[in-house]
Chain length 267, copies 2
Amino acid sequence: MSSTTPAAKRQKSNKDTPYHLIYWPGIPGRGEHVRLALEEAGATYTDTAHIKDGVNEVLALIDAKHTGDDLNPPICAPPVLKHGDLVINQTPNILLYLGPKLGLAPSPGGDDEDGIYVVNELALTALDGLSNEPHDCHHPIATGLYYEDQKEESLRKSKDYVANRLPKFLGYFERVLKSKASGDGPWLYGGKLTYADLVLFQCVDGIKFMFPKATKKLQDSGDYTGVFALYEAVKDRPKIKEYLASDRRQKYSMGIYRYYEELDVTE
Amino acid sequence: MSSTTPAAKRQKSNKDTPYHLIYWPGIPGRGEHVRLALEEAGATYTDTAHIKDGVNEVLALIDAKHTGDDLNPPICAPPVLKHGDLVINQTPNILLYLGPKLGLAPSPGGDDEDGIYVVNELALTALDGLSNEPHDCHHPIATGLYYEDQKEESLRKSKDYVANRLPKFLGYFERVLKSKASGDGPWLYGGKLTYADLVLFQCVDGIKFMFPKATKKLQDSGDYTGVFALYEAVKDRPKIKEYLASDRRQKYSMGIYRYYEELDVTE
C-alpha cells in the first residue's frame, strides 16, 4: 500500500511507444482478438509469441510472487497489454482500451459518446458464448485437468452446445446484424467496422475449426447469412488477409478451439 | 439496416432521467452488481424486481422477435440498463457505464485517465472466477437442463472449484489488495472505493452462501485477510447496510449462487 495514488503517479506522456502484447506463444487463444485489432489498424506492436523466450515474460507476470507495480495491480491471467506505464489484462478490457485509439470503436468523447458501450457489450457476448463456452466444451469440469480426464462430460456438454447454445448465439448476432442500429454494410454496429466485428470473426473461425460439421450444417441452413457474410468480409480486409497468410498467424492447437473428432457432433 | 448512423440520432440531452434496471425478479443474480453500485451512490433508479409484472419487461426484451431500435441492437440476456435512449446489457459493461457517473470509478477524462481499465479488469476477473465459475458448479453441462440432470458432474466440478479455483481467485485479490497500486485503506485500487470492490463484496457474499464450509475454512486459514476485510468494509458502508437490511435486497434462491448441501464440500 502507498499513500500516493496511481492518479498522482501515472504519466500521460509516455504513451508514444509501441503496444506490447504478452500472451502464450504457440496458440492463437484469447490473445488473437488483440492481434486482429492491432493488425487491422496497422499498429506497431511487439508480441511475446514472436520473441525468443517470450513465454518467460508471461510466466513472470502471472507468478504468484508478482505484486504489480506502483500503478498497476498484479495480473491474474494473460493476455496482457503493456502500453507506456499501463499494464492491463482481460481480453475485452484490452480491446476497450485499444478500440477508440485504433479507430475500431466510437470514441467516448466523439459524436457517438455511448457507442463504445454497445461495441463492448457485443464483444463481451461473443466472447461469452463463442469463446468461453467452446473452451468449456473440452474442459467442463476442471481447467487444471487434461481433456482425457473429462472426456465423457465434454461429449455431453458439446452435444448441448451445438444443439442449443451455438444456434442461440449465432441467431443473436444475426438479429444484431438485421437491426437498424447495425447501419449499412456487413458490420454489427453503426455501419462501420469495429473490434466487435473482429471478435465475432475470430470466434466463428474458431468454431469452424472445432465443430466443422455442426458449423457447416448451421451455415447451410441459411439462417445465419449475415454472420457468415461478416466472417467473409473481415477475412477479405486487406490487412487481415495479409496477416492471416503470414507467419504471425499461429495455428490452432491446444488452446481454446481444439479439434477432437469425437466432439464434432451435429446433434 | 439504416443509412443514418446511431451517432447522428442519439440524443445527448435526455439522460436526465432515472436509471432503469431490467432483470429477473426473485433472485439477486447478476443484476445485484448493478443494484449495489446504484445503492452505494444513492442514485434514483427503478427496478423490474419491484414493479408489478416486471418479469414481462425482461421477457419482451430478450424475445427472439425483439430487434432493438434505431440506436440499440437487440439484447442477448439481462441485466439490462436503460438510461435515456441508451439500452445496454452485460454486467461489467453496465458497471463501466455507471462507474464514473456514480463516482465509483476514475473518469476517463479525469486525473487517472486509465484507471477505469484497471477497475474494469478487476471487475471482469471477479465475475469470471467468483460468479461465472460458481454458476457452472451447479450447471457444468448445460444451462438449459436442471441441476438434477447434472448432479454428478456438478459434484466433480465443485470439488475442483473449492480445492483449486476458489483459493486461486481469493489469492489473486489478496495480492491486489497488498499491491502498491491499491493505495491506502481496504480497497482494491487507488485508495478509493470503486465498483470493483462492490463486485468483489457481492461475489464473496454469494460464495459464503453457496460454499459455507469451504469459505469458512479459507477465511480461517488467515491467507485472505484483506479480501474478508474488504467484504466487511463494504457491508459497513451506511447506504449498503441500509440496503442489505431492506426489502430491496432479495434472498438467494435459484440464481447464480445456490446452496446444495452435497456441493458444500471442503476438499
